[in-house]
Symmetry: C2
Subunit: 220 residues, 2 copies
């Protein structure tokens, strides 16, 4: 282990950058999980002293906000001029897909207050079609918040950061179903085959359709 250079690196040298820090942090999360993220681990992977990160990031929370921005940047926006309902469905699905590209990192976006500049574009992309569909601004905001709450809640469950009795994988499902039937709770037992099994995709589509159907039934 040779001692590392100690001053500002010479002109041509590869240098640290905010982008390198953020992408390395995201890679670390993908590989080792959210809880493995530490300033020291990120620095080690970059071959750099931990304190060097602070030249590009205010603190650890700031770093995580940056990673959140990386994730949100992966949302793909539908083309202009589609039917409002089609645009909204596409957006919701694209948001979900973007989060599921990095499931273990998703809670960074979903459970954090983010600076306006990083969420304004998605908001505009949702409110636009809602107004175009004839919803009042007030109702459009209510609708945005209801669908976003549902989507966040669904995604958190999907990445195992929410309470649920459902499980994935056949052997687990069968075992859980048996446990539920053995509780003696009548409704729980009756619904056990469905409570035990989880199908994120269809649950997301079910709730999304439910909300959008309701919103577009009367466009006040």
């Amino acid at each position: 282990m040779t001692a590392a250079r100690r001053g500002r690196p010479p002109a041509g040298a590869e240098t640290l950058s905010l982008h390198r820090v953020l992408t390395e942090a995201l890679a670390l999360i993908d590989e080792k999980g959210l809880e493995a993220v530490s300033m020291r681990q990120v620095a080690t992977r970059l071959g750099v002293n931990p304190m060097s990160l602070y030249n590009h990031v205010q603190d650890k929370d700031d770093l995580l906000k940056g990673v959140a921005g990386l994730l949100l940047a992966k949302i793909e926006y539908p083309e202009e001029g589609l039917e409002p309902r089609v645009s909204l469905e596409a957006l919701a699905r694209s948001f979900r897909a973007a989060m599921l590209l990095h499931p273990t990192a998703a809670p960074i976006v979903l459970t954090r207050q983010l600076p306006p500049e990083v969420i304004l574009r998605p908001i505009e992309a949702v409110v636009g079609p809602m107004l175009a569909a004839g919803l009042s601004p007030q109702r459009a905001v209510h609708a945005l918040r209801a669908t976003l709450a549902f989507t966040i809640g669904t995604l958190l469950r999907e990445v195992n950061v929410a309470p649920t009795v459902g499980v994935l994988g056949e052997p687990n499902v069968a075992r859980r179903q048996g446990e539920l039937e053995a509780t003696g709770l009548p409704a729980t037992a009756a619904a056990a085959p469905y409570l035990a099994r989880m199908d994120h995709e269809s649950e997301f589509e079910f709730g999304l359709a439910l909300l959008l159907d309701g919103l577009f039934r009367f466009r006040t």
Copy 2:
């Protein structure tokens, strides 16, 4: 600072218990916030060595699960025999109210997988009325998951653990509204007065009614 007793305490002495550990942890969260919770802090408040907690709790995560149980135990269940829709509304409101009794602790419940024994009762209380209303078990489970996802998402926003542009308090609202109008994004600017302001209560009721209306429109 006299040296603390070192062995098992004598018979009559006040002794530690799981319940004391959990309630002290909850009190600490209420006073100092979630991030202030550490085994050492809880132990200090109990006048006890940190390692003593491990006689009652497997590890820190287990302690937090226990606190989650404390919170869920504060749900008040509606009486039997009400109209299904009335029961479901009461339950959703009661769940929300229970979480808002300890807003800073709520994320422990909302962003964690919990053991079945602690969530079975609420589940039964939701699925029961849904089946009573004529929903199929499959649809009842979908309905449970959709409303729960929405409720969790709404509550996380309410306790500042979710992305949003809305703010509370008049001066903040006015400032944020100005910022939104200055973005140049047309829909965002048009909806700025509503985007800037947050009204958790009415947003919760709006989404809840939207979901339940849809669910009860056709009872398949």
